[in-house]
Amino acid sequence: MAIAKPSENYWEEKVETSEKVWISVSILACLFMFSVMVVWAIVGRQNPPQEAYRIKTSEFQKRVEAFINKYKIGEENGIPIVEAPSKVDLYMMGRMFQWTPILVLKKGETYRIRLSSIDVNHGFSILPVNINFQAVPQYEYVLTIKPTQSGEFLIVCNEFCGLGHHKMVGKIIVK
């Protein structure tokens, strides 16, 4: 009786069996779900990266430009196409309203991609793989990533960043 006061000894009243069973099963379900998350963090192959650095946006932009100059192999609609070996760190820069550069990767190799934005927040979404990260200005997020499919993949911005937000589409090519 939700608007009347409970009986004086409500704290001593016995809990009915079916509710006791339900609570016990619920606790087990909660522990199970929690354990899966912990176990996956240790042995799973898909875990959010935890390597990140603070960096000035101007400094990040400078490093991206140096990276592009060194490894550029072509251009598409004014966006440089870059192919770098997996032993160096790769860069991906979000800005209103484009992703720079277009990265060329090899299937089955593990890369370190340094992701950041030089203006507002952007969302880094590789489609149709559908794997998503937040690109936050002043923070460099190091994604250690291994493509397991080949083909052309779109990078769609999925954090609202302004009027041209929906036009912000980049590319990753996996050979």
């Binding site: 939700a2 507002v120 009027l163």
Partner: protein
């Protein structure tokens, strides 16, 4: 001495100032709901890309309008009405310092005006910043000031709530433990206090930054503090909604919770652990470590989820006990089949309970898993999830309660029985169709908050977008019926004086004996099975993605 009347239906004392505060908050809630609802329809018809109704700039503008009016204004105005109701009328008590109540309402109204003025008329970059307003997107200073004033007003209502309860005890209008409904609202009020403090911490510096007084705001820190406001704000809705469910199970079928002790403990678990859920929004952000994320995103080993699972049993059990006491005692489900489905308050209660659990709650637990979040962050599945929780769940529960608020507080008879009866079904089923479509599209990577996705190749995209649009149209029909029905009833409905009963029966004698609840335990296990299946399915999807660490 303040003016007091005795409610002929419930026998409770209704004091004039409390009643006025409930009325003005409820009216502003409904106005906000209408604005947000019109926005909702326009947005859905834009996301249905066969129609693609709005141009890009208007789409983003209405996204901000919709988000602010629904997530903030409609909810919080209604909850402030709830805070007053739970701490005065339910306790037979008076409103303490009513002038501060009117002051709080004025601040909220002023904030509401400022924000709506900016989001409707400001230039694009200063107005379309979304409900989240992530720095360094920079809105007009009035936008932040409005947000702050609104939050301060709501905070005053929370403080008045606690003063009212304290005063009720001191004046002995009430003794012993508070009723369960007030207890749940108190939990919501405690959550609201730390939520609103986070809101102030997030927005005051940003307000100064928009005036060029503060030079720089750290965008990652803003996200952390903002979500200390943005996520718990929805947990206020959660605690308020669960309280309303308990209340409606009592009003509609005389239900009582199987165990006061257990239900109250569950509310306490909300207060203690639910704030940790803020981390849900930061799972794929730079700058946080794995253990921080797992500890927080699981609400500390799922203790707040445990609370929800407890309510998930206790609410239907409460209904079952009420119905069995009324003689519907045969078999497992007679109590449910013979429930008052033609009472909109009951229909709203049950539909919101089912949709909240199966669509909102389940998807929330799953997308809050640290690793699986990589597949859902900022996809359409996120609004899919929270339309299951705050729209079908909280909004529908509040609508259900309104079917009693109008006859009891505004003392008007509903104009149309027919429209009242169909309304919760339309709204609930519409939101369900829409949210399922959004969840499915999001699982395949379709982003949220974006004007165009035509270049993305996803199986059955056109069909799912059509369902999204049709669901939204059905839900909007339910919403507009609700709003128009209330407005017309308040203007032209027959005045209720003296003893005439509200047309939808309100039970004021609760069940006398606590029966067993075999039907509920079956339903609860069906739900748990569904949760586990969805849990495993989503891990399977993740395991097929690129390797990342």
């Amino acid at each position: 001495m303040q003016e007091v009347r005795v409610c002929p239906v419930t026998g409770l004392k209704v004091q004039k100032h409390a009643e006025n505060l409930i009325k003005i908050n409820a009216i502003m809630a409904v106005i906000s709901l209408l604005i947000g609802g019109i926005g909702a329809l326009l947005l859905a018809l834009t996301r249905w890309e066969a129609i693609h109704l709005l141009p890009a700039d208007l789409y983003y503008r209405f996204l901000t309008i919709h988000g602010m009016n629904m997530l903030v204004f409609w909810m919080v105005f209604f909850e402030c009405a709830g805070l007053v109701f739970a701490s005065t009328i339910v306790l037979n008590a008076r409103q303490v310092a009513p002038q501060y109540g009117y002051l709080a309402f004025s601040l909220m109204l002023l904030g509401w005006l400022m924000v709506n003025y900016i989001v409707f008329t400001g230039n694009f970059s200063e107005s379309s910043v979304m409900f989240t307003a992530y720095v360094p997107l920079r809105a007009h200073p009035l936008f932040y000031l409005g947000y702050i004033l609104f939050a301060v007003g709501a905070l005053i209502f929370c403080i008045l709530f606690f003063l009212n309860v304290y005063n009720a005890r001191r004046e002995k209008t009430f003794d012993g433990p508070v009723p369960l409904f007030t207890y749940g609202i108190a939990a919501a009020a405690v959550i609201a206090v730390f939520t609103l403090i986070h809101g102030a911490l997030a927005f005051i510096p940003v307000f100064l930054w928009s005036l060029d007084i503060v030079k720089e705001i750290n965008p990652a820190v803003y996200r952390l503090i903002f979500w200390g406001f943005g996520h718990p704000a929805q947990q206020i809705n959660l605690a308020a909604m669960v309280s309303v469910w308990y209340l409606l199970s009592y009003f509609t079928v005389g239900g009582i919770t199987p165990s006061e002790k257990v239900s109250r403990t569950a509310f306490l678990l909300y207060v203690l652990f639910i704030n940790a859920g803020s981390a849900h929004h930061l799972l794929v952000d730079p700058a946080y470590g794995t253990s921080w994320k797992i500890f927080n995103t699981s609400y500390v080993i799922y203790l707040a989820v445990l609370a929800s699972l407890i309510h998930c049993f206790a609410i239907p059990a409460s209904i079952e006990i009420g119905q069995r006491n009324k003689g519907f005692n045969n078999g497992l489900f007679t109590w449910l089949i013979k429930a008052p489905w033609n009472n909109p308050a009951f229909a709203a209660l049950f539909i919101s309970l089912v949709i909240f659990g199966f669509i909102g709650g389940t998807s929330g637990v799953i997308m809050g898993i640290e690793q699986i979040n990589m597949k859902l962050h900022n996809t359409l599945a996120v609004p899919g999830h929270f339309h299951g929780t705050v729209a079908a769940g909280t909004s529908l529960a509040f609508m259900g309660l309104a079917y009693y608020v109008v006859p009891l507080i505004f003392r008007r008879e509903w104009l149309s029985r027919f429209f009242a009866i169909i309304q919760p079904y339309l709204f609930g089923i519409g939101i369900a169709i829409m949210a399922i479509s959004m969840n499915t599209l999001g699982r395949m990577g379709i982003p949220r908050r974006t004007w165009e996705t035509t270049f993305l190749n996803v199986p059955h995209k056109d069909l799912l977008e059509m369902f999204l649009g049709i669901g939204a149209i059905i839900a909007f029909t339910g919403l507009i019926i609700f709003v128009l029905h209330i407005v017309l009833t308040l203007l032209f409905g027959k005045k209720i004086n003296g003893d005439n009963k509200p047309e939808f029966p309100l039970i004021t004698e609760s069940a006398t004996s606590k029966t067993a609840t075999p039907g509920t335990i079956v339903l609860a296990f069906i739900f748990l099975l569904y949760l586990i299946v969805m849990f495993i399915f989503n891990w399977y999807l993740l395991s097929r993605a690129w390797e990342v660490r």
